[in-house]
């Protein structure tokens, strides 16, 4: 039986989310996508999942109105059950210090969201191709 792998996207801006989701769908991504607008919602979702759940990756913005993607990253990576989930930071924030902090906290990759819509779609397309090649464990 083929195991479903959910992709979690945490993105506060609806317009950005739509471009990202459309980018994945147009590139042929046919797994389930769970969308959350803040890290707390994603943590609640993870808490409800069984041990058999397989998360392909969490793609998260770094900056939220009331919380931060870095805190989410630290919480997940310090949780015995969830720390194996790959987390990709996908943000407009280009600060090198944040690239270092996120890698120290255990992010898999740090990708800067291009402001140009076409370029953003191109990045999502290549990210989708890469994700189609990776293996992930159960949580």
């Amino acid at each position: 039986m083929r195991l479903q792998k959910d992709l979690i996207i945490i993105e506060p801006q609806s317009q950005h989310y739509e471009i990202i989701e459309n980018g994945f769908r147009n590139a042929g991504f046919n797994e389930k996508i769970e969308r959350f607008t803040n890290p707390d919602q994603a943590m609640d979702f993870l808490a409800r999942q069984s041990d058999e759940t397989r998360i392909l990756s969490i793609i998260t913005e770094l900056n939220f109105p009331d919380s931060s993607g870095l805190s989410l990253l630290e919480s997940i990576k310090s949780n015995e059950k969830w720390r194996k989930i790959p987390i990709i930071v996908f943000t407009a924030d280009q600060e090198p210090e944040n690239v270092t902090k996120c890698h120290q906290a255990g992010c898999s990759f740090y990708i800067v969201k291009p402001s140009d819509q076409m370029e953003l779609q191109n990045v999502v397309k290549k990210l989708n191709r890469f994700l189609s090649s990776i293996e992930t464990p159960n949580i």
């Binding site: 194996k84 790959p86 969201k113 291009p114 290549k126 990776i134 293996e135 992930t136």
Partner: protein, 148 residues
């Protein structure tokens, strides 16, 4: 990623290394690529150098089954070192065993990619990887070798 970042490939099979290098190149990867033939070689390089610059950035493609020190042990030692732990490590291996995948993620690998036995699929996987690594948007942290 930036053109001055180096790609370190720990791969004992010379044929596999050349195929990986060629297909990364076909995917427009222009970064310097350095090959290590076993786990000890890459550990020696990362822990003692020589490193050309006081600040540098690497990404590692790491095979698991290698002579002297296997890839899993290399991963464990890198992720235990505060400075070296920042280097993204992508496991690139023929092993698709679930337990191995789980152990590598527990040890902190950034990604786990299985090399398909089929030649065409193998090339496709490496090209997908290369296209991803070529993204200007992909940011790799700098490390300071003297802090290792």
């Amino acid at each position: 990623m930036e053109k001055n970042s180096k790609i370190l490939i720990a791969e004992d099979d010379r044929g596999h290394f050349l195929l990986i290098k060629r297909n990364l190149w076909l995917a427009c990867v222009e970064n310097e690529i350095i090959n290590f033939r076993d786990g000890q070689e890459i550990l020696d390089f990362l822990f003692t150098g020589p490193h050309e610059d006081s600040e540098t950035s690497y990404i590692i493609l790491l095979d698991i089954r290698m002579p002297k020190v296997d890839g899993r042990e290399v991963l464990r030692r890198l992720k235990q070192n505060t400075e070296l732990a920042k280097i993204p490590v992508i496991m690139l291996t023929t092993t698709d065993d679930e337990t191995e995948i789980e152990k590598c993620y527990e040890l902190g690998c950034n990604s786990y990619v299985v090399k398909p036995a089929d030649y065409t699929k193998f090339m496709e996987v490496v090209e997908n990887l290369g296209a991803f690594l070529c993204l200007d948007s992909l940011k790799i942290p700098e490390i300071q070798p003297e802090k290792v």
